[in-house]
Symmetry: C2
Subunit: 355 residues, 2 copies
Amino acid sequence: MNINQELILALDAMGGTKAPQVVVEGAKLALERYPNLKFLFFGDEKQLNPLLKEDKKLSSASIIRHTDIIVNDEMKPSAALRVGRKSSMALAIQAVAEGEALGVISGGNTGAYMALSKILLKTVKGISRPAIASYLPTERGGETVMLDLGANVASDEFNLIEFAIMGSIFATDVLGCQNPSVGLLNVGEEDLKGSSVLRCAADYLKKYPGINFYGFIEGNDISKGTVDVVVTDGFTGNVALKTLEGTARLIRSFLKDGFSGSLMGKIGYFFALPTLKHVFQRMNPSRYNGAIFLGLNGIAVKSHGSTDALGFSNAVSVAVDMLSHGFKSQIETNMEDVKTFLASSESEAKTQEEN
Amino acid sequence: MNINQELILALDAMGGTKAPQVVVEGAKLALERYPNLKFLFFGDEKQLNPLLKEDKKLSSASIIRHTDIIVNDEMKPSAALRVGRKSSMALAIQAVAEGEALGVISGGNTGAYMALSKILLKTVKGISRPAIASYLPTERGGETVMLDLGANVASDEFNLIEFAIMGSIFATDVLGCQNPSVGLLNVGEEDLKGSSVLRCAADYLKKYPGINFYGFIEGNDISKGTVDVVVTDGFTGNVALKTLEGTARLIRSFLKDGFSGSLMGKIGYFFALPTLKHVFQRMNPSRYNGAIFLGLNGIAVKSHGSTDALGFSNAVSVAVDMLSHGFKSQIETNMEDVKTFLASSESEAKTQEEN
C-alpha cells in the first residue's frame, strides 16, 4: 500500500467520554499529519454537522453516516452483538468489512468493540484467535508491545505462537524495531516454570527461525524492557496491564500526599511539577495511543475512552502505520511459514518416535 | 499462646546477601521489641561467634548451631532438596519441625526455602497446598494481603478457597483487619470473566459464611485497596507482584531522569527528595517485611534477601504476630468448617439434581 494514495478510515464518532468533539478534533489533527486521509464519521449528524463545518479542510475530507444508536460503556459484549448492529461502532466496523474503509478507530466500550470486530471482520487466514495489544514504556527507553491483554481468557501453545508473530510484525511496523525480541511471560522459580502450554510454546518458538525468541521473562521484565514483545495469555496480560496502571496511580497518589504534607514538600512540588507531569504522561502512552486488535481482517484500533484530541489522532496514526506496512498480508505470509514449520516439526517427532 | 512466655525462633543466619551481619543485627532489634525471644542461629560459628559477642543481651538469648553448608540463591529447589538437607536453611526449618523452635525466618533462596519447608514442616491438617503471601501498600491507606505469589503454578477452586481462608486469618492477626474483605483476582470484561475454576470458587465463597467475600476484582484493585485480601493462583500472583515491583522501579527511574534533565528539575529534586524517598519506601513494604509461607505446620517467614537489619527484625515481628494469635490452630478450625460446608453444598446439589 502506498502511503500517498487516498486512505479512507471509518471513525466511531460516538465512542469515548468526550465524543464526538474529541473524535472530530482528533481527525483534524490526523489530517494535518496525513493529508491523504479521508474519514467516514458514523454517528449523530445533528452533533457532527456543526462540528465538521468549523473546519473546511476536514469537512471536505469527510462524509457523515448518520445513526442514533450508541453502544455505551456499560453494555456487555453479548448485548452489543444483539442490539448494537446498527450502532455507530458496528457500522464503522462494517465499513471496513465491506471494503469501504481500510481501518476503523473507536474510543468506545472495548469488550463490545472486540466482539463486534470479531463477528464483522473475522480473523485473518491462519489466525485462530485475535488478540488485544498495546505498547508500554520501558526503563531502557523505547517501548515494549504486550499481548494478549484480554481478548481471550485462556490460550494454548498455538495461540501464543500466533501472538508472538503478530506482536513481532507490530513491533517492526509501528515501533520500528529491527528483528524484535520476543519473551514469554512466566514465573521466576526454575522448578515451577509455568504450565505445559508455556513450555510447549517455548519449545516451538526456540526452533522457529521466523521469531527472535528471547525465552521466558518475568513480570518485572515488562517495565525493564528486556524484550520488544511480551507474549502472554489474555488473563495474565489483562491482570498485568491493570496492575501496572494501578501501581502508577498509587505512586501518583502517594506523591501527592507527600508533597502536600509539609512546607518543604509544597515548595518541592512547585519545582517538581513539570517533571512529575512529564513522568506520568510517559507512564501511560496507551492513554494517548490506544490498544490495537491484531489478527482481524481489517485494522481496528481502540482509542482510550477518556483521551483528548491528540490521543485520538495518535490512534489514527497507529492505523495508518499498520496500513502502510501491509500488516494483514504480512501476518498471512508468516502464518503459512509457521504452519509448514509446525507440520515438519510434527512429522520429525513422529519419525523419531518410530525409530 | 501467651506473648509473655519464652518464644524460641530459628534463624537461617546465612540467608540473604548481607548475612550473617543483617541477621544478627535484626535479631538484636527484634529482641529489644520482644524481650521474651530466644534465638537459634544456624550457620557458620566462626562468623557468628564474634558478631554475637558484641551484644551481651543478644548472646545470652542465643544459641549457635554450626553448619558450613549454605543454600545459595542460584540453587534450584530440587537441588536444595537433594544436597541442602544439612544447610543452615534446612536445619533452621528442621528445628521448627522437631518442636525446638516455634518459627523460622530466612532471607535465602525463596524456591528452596518453600521446597524444604513443604517437605520438613508439611501442610496443616485440612490444607492441600501452602501459599506464599505478602502485603502491599494501597491508595486507601493500610495494606492488602495478596496470595498465592508463586508457591503453586496452577490452583483449583478448593486451593483458592484455602487461600481465602488463610489470607483472612493473616489479615486479621497480623494487619489487624476486622472481618477482612476477600476479592478474587479476575479480568474486566463481563463475558470473559475468567475460568470455570474462578467462577466455581466465587460460587462457594459467596455462600460460605466464614468469609467476607467481596467478589471479583481486577489488577488495578490491588493498589486501590478495594479488598483486604487478594486471592489468586500462584502464576498470576507472581506476575502481578513482579509487574508491580517493575512499575515502581520504572517510575523511580523516570523521575530520576526527569529531575536531572534541567536546572528547574535539579532544584525540584532537592526539595522533593524527602517526599520521593518516603514514597518509594512506602511502595515496597515487602522489602522490609518479607513474604510469609501460609498453610505449613509451623511459622515460616521469608525476609527479603537484600533487606537491612530493620527489615529482618520486621520479618521476625511477623512471625511473633502469627505465633501470638495461634495462626495454625485457627486455620485448622476454619478448614474443618469449610469441609462441613462443602460437603453440605454437595449433598444439597445432589438432592436438587434428584428432585
